[in-house]
């Protein structure tokens, strides 16, 4: 399998606080990688650096053999919009847009016509079992429904990689597992790579491979022990 993303000797600090202290990570195409570790160990920082949302202090992030750290903000912005999908715990849907419009937004930004974008958006909502919500505003949905819409929006451009930072953290256990199961199912179907940040071991079990972080560095005791593939 080809390497999709490669982070080498990643360092990143917030002022005097180091968050990443030399992390190496490789993600191959279509692979689902879980990043685990205790709260504050640097998981979100790693995800933000890999997705090009944040620059590293030193080290390099290569996407299909190109160092995206050298790219301009607008080039990385475009990369995130087209090749990547991002998913967070909350606050991602625009409250004034309907579910359908929220999901269609990345397509519209890519220049797709309104009607066509709306149609594709509805297909994706259907894929996650929330087709009937297309005309509803986020405020009128449950947390699980909102998160399903957010997942649909992150995947609607059929990105090569999905970055998810505790995507089910705000949901109850049962709904969380359902949503995660759907993410994994669709990702496998479409051959998307997934970087899944979580601090729950159960959720990490959905992944092909698990990487553990501790204090901003790889935790060798966790590394590879749970490899399934």
């Amino acid at each position: 399998m080809n390497t999709l993303l490669q982070g080498t000797a990643l360092h990143r600090a917030y002022g005097p606080t180091p968050a990443l202290r030399g992390v190496d990570i490789e993600v191959t195409e279509g692979e689902i990688v879980a990043v685990t570790g205790p709260s504050g160990c640097g998981k979100s920082t790693l995800l933000h650096c890999l997705a090009g949302i944040m620059r590293v202090d030193s080290g390099s992030v290569r996407y299909r053999d190109q160092d995206i750290g050298l790219w301009s903000e607008s080039a990385r912005s475009k990369l995130r919009r087209t090749e990547f999908g991002v998913l967070f715990q909350f606050g991602q849907l625009v409250p004034e847009l309907t579910a359908g419009e929220n999901v269609a937004l990345p397509l519209l930004l890519g220049g797709v016509k309104r009607r066509e974008a709306q149609k594709t958006a509805e297909e994706w909502l259907d894929r996650f079992g929330v087709a009937e919500l297309a005309g509803k505003l986020p405020g009128a949905m449950s947390g699980g429904q909102q998160q399903r819409c957010a997942v649909a929006r992150a995947m609607v451009t059929e990105p090569r990689a999905l970055f998810a930072d505790e995507p089910t953290g705000a949901l109850d256990v049962l709904t969380g597992e359902q949503v995660l199961g759907e993410i994994v199912r669709v990702a496998r179907e479409k051959g998307m790579a997934v970087v899944l940040v979580t601090h729950e071991a159960q959720i990490a079990a959905y992944a092909d491979r698990e990487i553990s972080l501790r204090d901003g560095a790889l935790d060798p005791t966790g590394l590879g022990l749970r490899t399934r593939a």
Partner: protein
């Protein structure tokens, strides 16, 4: 809640809270100074000949012109007071968290609003005290006489103590009321502060209000026995202006809703979709934030219409006098004497528009900050900052253009319906529409709002901070 507890909770806060307090206090102080100036002009007593020859300016010396000065000053105080109240929305996140925590600790929604309102009132009281000091200081500093020994400003009279006390109480109370009114749109729940967006579509009757206002304004000219300067005259004219202004302000809700619908329907760009949906989600936010601005523009248009009427009237008399070679007929005073009073109102309008734009900036910044998490998530998802800026620009500036047009048209319509023929015997002229100065008024207001929005966009840039994405 005991007053001491209320005070303790109201003054708790961090640096942005102090900034808000400072801004509330400063604008309250300014409002008080302006209102005390108005009260000072009211306190001028007429001399024996009916006028006060010891003032250099006819605006102060002439009893007939003083009401114009008073009106201009009171008018000026309105947007400043509105600004004091609007400051309540500044630095909202930290305050919201505090209010939510207070609710979580068992306070009722009413108590939470009371705490936020009390904070504004407290700042207003500080402002009142500072304002009184500033006013007394200004009286001393500005005591000047011209070569002829006449006073430039009425620094020889003081408003009565009762007036001073009333105004000092009025300013903080008004600021608190405006603030509490603005807080009605947010729900302070124990889990955080949620903004309430009204589902209700725009009312159909702003147009009706404008028409009624126009009609009432005409009555004194149509009905015999209602003389200029009488109470009935003042009620009809003032009521006409007020109804028209309210109609324009409420009409903006309808305009915002309609522009939103059109943007949604025909706007091909994603930024237009965002802007259109937001306009439709809360069409009243435009009315609320633009109220002071639009009111200033309506008044400005009325003043401009009145001014050109005066100028044309003088023109007619000048022609008549030239024909008859007589000088004794017509208005006795020089033209500049009357237009000067109108120009003073225009200065007040200019300041009013600027102050109102500052208020708009505050609510714009607050609206952006309240959505910072969404903006940060959108940026992370690759939505270009340009698209977000563009949506804010569409959302503020697009409804503004027709709203300004409505304000200017209503204001000038009010004056022109009373008649457009003026003149002297055997020589009547048609009052032209002051297109140039009206365009300047509307264009100026638009430009100032554009600048305010530009500053708001800087806030937007810093709101897309990734900090907001961290799961707490």
């Amino acid at each position: 809640m005991r007053p001491a507890t209320l005070f303790r909770l109201a003054v708790a806060g961090n640096r942005t809270d102090h900034l808000r307090t400072a801004l509330t206090a400063a604008s309250s102080a300014l409002a008080l100074v302006v209102l005390l100036a108005a009260a000072t002009v009211i306190a001028i007593k007429n001399g024996e000949s009916g006028e006060n020859a010891h003032y250099a300016s006819p605006l102060l010396a002439e009893p007939g012109l003083r009401p114009g000065v008073i009106a201009a000053l009171v008018l000026l105080a309105v947007p400043i007071l509105a600004l004091a109240g609007q400051s309540i929305r500044l630095g909202a996140p930290a305050r919201d968290r505090r209010l939510a925590a207070i609710r979580l600790a068992g306070a009722t929604p009413g108590q939470a609003v009371l705490i936020a309102g009390a904070e504004t009132v407290a700042a207003g009281v500080i402002g009142s005290v500072v304002g009184l000091g500033g006013f007394l200081l200004l009286r001393v500093v500005l005591e000047r006489r011209n070569a002829g020994g006449e006073l430039l400003l009425p620094t020889d009279v003081l408003p009565s103590v009762l007036w001073i006390v009333i105004l000092m109480a009025f300013v903080p109370v008004m600021a608190g009321l405006v603030g509490a009114l603005l807080l009605r749109q947010v729900v302070i729940s124990p889990l955080g502060v949620v903004r309430r967006t009204r589902k209700r579509g725009p009312w159909p009757w702003p147009g009706f209000l404008i028409v009624v206002g126009l009609v009432i304004f005409q009555l004194p000219a149509q009905i015999k026995g209602i003389d200029v300067g009488t109470n009935r005259w003042a009620v009809l004219v003032g009521g006409g202006v007020a109804l028209t202004t309210i109609g324009v302000v409420l009409g903006t809700g309808w305009i915002a809703h309609t522009t939103g619908r059109l943007l949604l329907r025909f706007g091909p760009r994603p930024a237009m979709l965002l802007a259109g949906r937001r306009l439709m989600a809360d069409p009243w936010s435009g009315s609320r934030t633009l109220a002071a601005l639009l009111a200033s523009v309506v008044i400005g248009a009325i003043a401009l219409g009145y001014r050109i009427g005066l100028v044309t009237q003088f023109e007619a008399w000048n022609r008549y006098n030239a024909q008859t070679r007589e000088e004794q007929l017509g208005a006795g005073a020089p033209e500049g004497f009357y237009t000067g009073a109108v120009d003073l109102i225009m200065v007040a309008v200019g300041i009013g528009v600027t102050v109102a734009a500052a208020g708009v900036l505050i609510s714009l910044a607050e609206g952006i900050v309240a959505r910072r998490r969404t903006y940060a998530a959108l940026t992370a998802a690759g939505v270009p900052g340009r698209t977000l800026s563009e949506s804010v620009l569409w959302q503020t500036m697009l409804p503004l253009a027709p709203a300004l047009l409505l304000a200017v048209t209503s204001g000038i319509g009010l004056i022109r319906l009373t008649g457009t023929r003026v003149g002297a015997p055997s020589n009547t002229l048609t009052v032209p529409v002051p297109v140039g100065s009206l365009a300047l008024l509307a264009g100026g207001a638009f430009l100032i709002m554009l600048i305010a929005t530009g500053i708001g966009l800087v806030v937007l840039r810093s709101s897309t901070d990734l900090e907001e994405l961290r799961a707490s």
